[in-house]
């Protein structure tokens, strides 16, 4: 079966800075892959690339069958992908329900999808009518999660999904990830909460200095080989 994500020597520039300096990554459909690495390693950039927000300057990137052309990101890909980033992407002056409704309908979600997403994240009921500006950070995360869920994406890209959430929230994330994979989606997440994330993931990939080391087996990776800074 076609891999969900396939990157070979991908180089992505942010301004003049090579945030990704040669990424090799294979993600099979239906897999849960964990990206880990130090801050500034390029995990967020990698997720954004897979979402179709960034382009490659060198190397190749094929996501969900879309060949990301050099220097132009692909719009068609974005519809099929859901990105949970650091920013909430929510409208402060609308309610939770309004936000989920808007972002869901923008992606073509039906009323049932939206209602289901709200319910799954515990946002139906009283909380649904609260303005986003009045929510706590954790509740905003839940709302963003609901917006993502309503879209029913084939590829989930989660940037530190557990951050800022309480125990219930983290369990919720895990539950949603399992449900998503069960219905055929693929999940790539970046996390610093290694215990929980490694238990969740099928595979761990280490990202450092804009490159990936070969971490095909799950569990704590072996000491990286000295040729980490290899040219792809």
């Amino acid at each position: 079966m076609e891999p969900a994500v396939q990157l070979r020597g991908a180089v992505t520039l942010l301004g003049r800075f090579p945030a990704l300096a040669g990424i090799d990554l294979d993600v099979a459909a239906g897999e849960i892959v964990l990206l880990r690495g130090p801050n500034g390693a390029g995990k967020t950039t990698l997720l954004r690339l897979c979402a179709g927000l960034l382009s490659v300057s060198r190397g190749t990137a094929v996501v969900l069958g879309h060949d990301l052309p050099h220097r132009r990101a692909v719009r068609a890909l974005r519809r099929r992908v859901g990105l949970l980033g650091h920013a909430t992407g929510l409208y402060d002056e609308l309610t939770v329900a309004d936000n989920v409704r808007f972002w869901g309908r923008a992606a073509g979600a039906s009323r049932e999808d939206i209602a289901g997403a709200l319910a799954a994240c515990g946002l139906d009921g009283r909380l649904g009518d609260v303005l986003v500006v009045n929510l706590s950070a954790g509740q905003r995360r839940r709302t963003s999660l609901a917006c993502l869920l309503a879209r029913r994406p084939e590829l989930w890209l989660l940037d530190e999904p557990h951050a800022g959430l309480d125990q219930d929230g983290r369990d919720l994330v895990d539950g949603l990830v399992h449900r998503a994979v069960a219905s055929g989606a693929t999940v790539v997440l970046a996390s610093h909460d290694l215990d929980r994330a490694e238990a969740l993931a099928d595979r761990v990939v280490t990202v450092a200095g804009g490159t990936t080391t070969t971490g095909i087996t799950s569990g704590p990776p072996a000491e990286p080989a000295p040729e980490v800074a290899r040219v792809s």
């Binding site: 300096a21 040669g22 220097r71 280490t206 804009g210 704590p220 040219v231």
Partner: protein, 249 residues
């Protein structure tokens, strides 16, 4: 790559520069001495030999900027980017000169420094359009790779010439209803030596503009070259981070 050039001159520009200087000297002669004074405006008409050429050059400048922006949007090559900015910068100087000379010309002709002559008004708006364009160019765009960062300025540049035209016609139409006389006030009936001087002025100022444009372009080009660090060097540096901090359990 050999040592970077320290001058932006070249045999071609030196020739152009020399011709421009000769042309300017000739123009000075004709403008101030050899061409006759106007019957109505007397000697103050001589400012026209600077004012009209600078106006034409300023408008042409906008055309070049728009063209360069359009080409940049299609090709995304640095050359067009630099050209658009260079044309706007040199153009704004000529626009300023046009406004000042127009204002000075107006004083003896109309009695004031500013009459709502359609040309002066639309040229002032053109000036501000260029200022806005250059201000936008200067603003840093933090994210995005070099082929994206000029998008905003390029769109504004693309719209520059159309805007100039729309504004020009609107203002013209607007003022023509009230001041049919004024439009001709600034245009004395020109013929003979005066016409020749005017044509000479247009040619000379175009040469001066071209000379300035080439040099400004080259300076801009060198700036771009200097700014672009080799990607490979940056890649090596980036990957080295992994060696220092990588493999954290």
């Amino acid at each position: 790559m050999s040592a970077p050039p320290t001058r932006t001159g070249s045999p071609a520009t030196r020739l152009l520069g020399a011709l421009s200087l000769i042309g300017l000297a000739l123009l000075l002669g004709y403008a101030l001495w050899w061409s006759p004074a106007d019957a109505v405006q007397k000697d103050s008409v001589r400012i026209m030999y600077v004012h009209v050429p600078t106006a034409i050059v300023a408008f042409a400048s906008c055309g070049i900027t728009t063209l360069a922006s359009a080409m940049w949007l299609r090709r995304r090559s640095e050359g067009w980017w630099v050209l658009g900015g260079a044309a706007a910068e040199v153009g704004i100087v000529f626009t300023g000169a046009c406004l000042v000379t127009g204002s000075i010309w107006g004083r003896p002709t109309w009695g004031t420094y500013w009459d709502w002559d359609p040309r002066i008004t639309s040229t002032t708006l053109l000036f501000i359009l260029l200022v806005g364009f250059l201000a936008l160019r200067r603003v840093d765009n933090e994210s995005g790779d070099p082929s994206h960062r000029g998008m905003r300025a390029a769109v504004v540049g693309l719209l520059l010439f159309p805007n100039v035209m729309i504004v020009h016609y609107s203002v013209d139409w607007w003022r023509s209803l009230h001041q049919t006389a004024t439009i001709t006030r600034l245009d004395p009936s020109i013929e003979g030596t005066m016409l020749f001087t005017l044509m000479l002025g247009i040619v000379v100022f175009s040469m001066v503009y071209a000379w300035l444009l080439v040099h400004r372009f080259r300076v801009g080009w060198l700036e771009e070259r200097a700014g672009a660090t080799g990607l490979d060097a940056a890649l090596v540096q980036r990957r080295a981070e992994a060696g220092v901090t990588g493999g954290v359990a």
